[in-house]
């Protein structure tokens, strides 16, 4: 579905990211973790086409319309209601207003925001705004969802709930996901595959871990799965080793 091969990205002379290989197959939830400055976000931006790779290829058998994108700081239009914000993408795709609004209403409902449609973003909480943004993306029925720390700014409980809802929806709709995060536990709990990116500059993909926890998952219960703790420990040690390696060099 998505195949990244030998991807090198640089802003200045020195590459941030070098020779990265990564795959997302249909229906897979894949996470990309790594220390700050490892080029995780840049990799995502390159996939979307917001950044030109210096070498390597991104192959994707999907059309642009099949990609759903959710970033940490992406904003809703403040002058549009929640409903209008969700309907925006549908209307851009040419759906007539009444139909777009009906569908948007249904998606708000699926994200637990029934009755909030007429509110302006200003009158919503951070979690609710994130749900609206999620509804906006999911309403377009993406086949691959690309996310960069989407819930990082939310407090723990809100974050837990919205993450579980997101997981239920992507499992139900069989949407493939590529999630960029620095939260190792979150990555393991959600993903089928976790990629570990090394310390930048010249960061490389260091490891690929398969997470053998069955679906559908409950994000609390997934933590008690016997494979969770050992995997987390391995991931943690590998990541620490990466960071330490660079510290010694520096």
């Amino acid at each position: 579905m998505l195949d990244v091969s030998g991807l090198t990205l640089s802003y200045g002379a020195e590459p941030v990211l070098e020779g990265a290989d990564l795959r997302v197959d249909a229906g897979q939830f894949v996470s990309l973790v790594g220390p700050s400055g490892s080029g995780k976000s840049s990799l995502l931006r390159a996939i979307i086409g917001l950044q030109r790779p210096n070498a390597g290829t991104v192959t994707c058998d999907l059309g642009r319309g099949d990609l759903g994108i959710l970033f940490q700081d992406d904003a809703l239009l403040p002058w549009r209601t929640a409903l209008e914000n969700v309907a925006l993408g549908l209307r851009i795709r040419g759906k007539p207003r009444p139909r777009a609004h009906d569908e948007a209403e249904a998606w708000l409902g699926r994200l637990g925001l029934t009755g909030f449609g007429e509110r302006f973003p200003r009158a919503l909480s951070g979690g609710q705004r994130k749900r609206v943004a999620l509804a906006q993306v999911l309403a377009l029925r993406p086949r691959l969802l690309l996310m960069d720390e989407p819930f990082a700014a939310l407090d723990a409980i809100v974050r837990h709930r919205i993450t579980q809802d997101l997981l239920d929806l992507v499992e139900g709709e069989r949407i493939s996901v590529l999630l960029v995060t620095h939260d190792l536990e979150e990555a393991l709990v959600l993903s089928d595959i976790v990629y570990l990116l090394g310390q930048g500059p010249r960061a490389r993909i260091r490891q690929r871990y398969a997470v053998p926890i069955s679906r559908p998952r409950d994000i609390m219960k997934a933590r008690t799965n016997p494979s969770f703790a050992p995997l987390l420990e391995r991931l943690w040690q590998d990541l620490s080793a990466e960071v330490d390696l660079i510290r010694r060099v520096a």
Partner: protein
């Protein structure tokens, strides 16, 4: 209206009443020279007389006409130039420094020049008002476009929106917000421009009457006119405020 705001309004009215009564009493008993500070009752009588003989209307019409015409033209031209400067780099390069200079000088000093150029009729007053407001609106729109939240632009792009969608969904609302927040200032500018234009040279208008009142040392007429102009500006402020609240209810 809740009781707290009603009480606040009541307290303010009482204070105003006390001050006016004090003024009245001091003026009546000669502690304030009524030649300079006529009592409120005399000012009210003058105001009443102005309306009673009906001649005031031609002056109100002249000032309002100049203020509103200058306001309208200034908003339109300022907005068009602002859009052009933000979208066309060449226009921006020329207009940005020009407008910055015009913004730095008190543009009201152009009034005598405009009288020489456009005569003592309404045209010179419209010109003063226009130049005050066009520069204000130029910056409102120019900044509005340049400082549009890039996250919103990127968001609409990732949802598949092209230039037309960006313009309609992002740029236009953002600019409207900036422009509307400047509307109240613009209303004040409009009257400043018209009245000062009339001070300089005119045969009609509230500024003309004011200048006449001043040259004849008629303090009660001067105060009555000041009061009248203030009332007009307050009414227009309130209207602009309503438009702002209505269109910017998302804030």
């Amino acid at each position: 209206m809740n009781t707290a705001t009603t009480r606040l309004a009541a307290r303010r009215l009482i204070v105003l009443g006390i001050l006016l009564s004090l003024w009245e009493v001091l003026a009546r008993f000669g502690l304030l020279n009524p030649f300079y500070v006529p009592p409120p009752s005399k000012v009210a009588a003058t105001l009443f007389a102005l309306f009673a003989d009906g001649e005031i209307w031609t002056h109100i019409e002249a000032t309002f006409g100049a203020a509103l015409l200058g306001l309208t033209l200034g908003v339109i031209v300022g907005a068009i130039l602002g859009v052009a400067a933000a979208l066309l780099p060449l226009v921006g390069e020329i207009l940005d420094p020009t407008m910055t200079v015009l913004n730095a000088v008190p543009r009201i000093i152009l009034a005598p020049l405009f009288v020489i150029w456009f005569g003592i009729g309404i045209a010179s007053k419209v010109a003063v008002t226009f130049v005050l407001i066009a520069v204000l609106f130029f910056f409102a729109v120019y900044a509005g476009i340049k400082e549009v939240d890039q996250r919103l632009v990127e968001r609409v792009k990732t949802l598949g929106g092209g230039r037309a969608v960006l313009l309609r969904e992002v740029y236009l609302p953002a600019v409207t917000a900036w422009a509307l927040s400047n509307l109240k200032i613009a209303v004040g500018f409009a009257f400043t421009g018209a009245v000062v234009g009339e001070f300089v040279a005119s045969s009609r208008g509230l500024g003309y009457l004011l200048s006449f009142a001043q040259s004849t040392y008629n303090a009660s007429l001067t105060l009555a006119l000041l009061l009248l102009i203030m009332v007009f500006v307050f009414v227009l402020f309130a209207l602009a405020g309503r438009v702002e609240n209505r269109l910017l209810r998302w804030r």
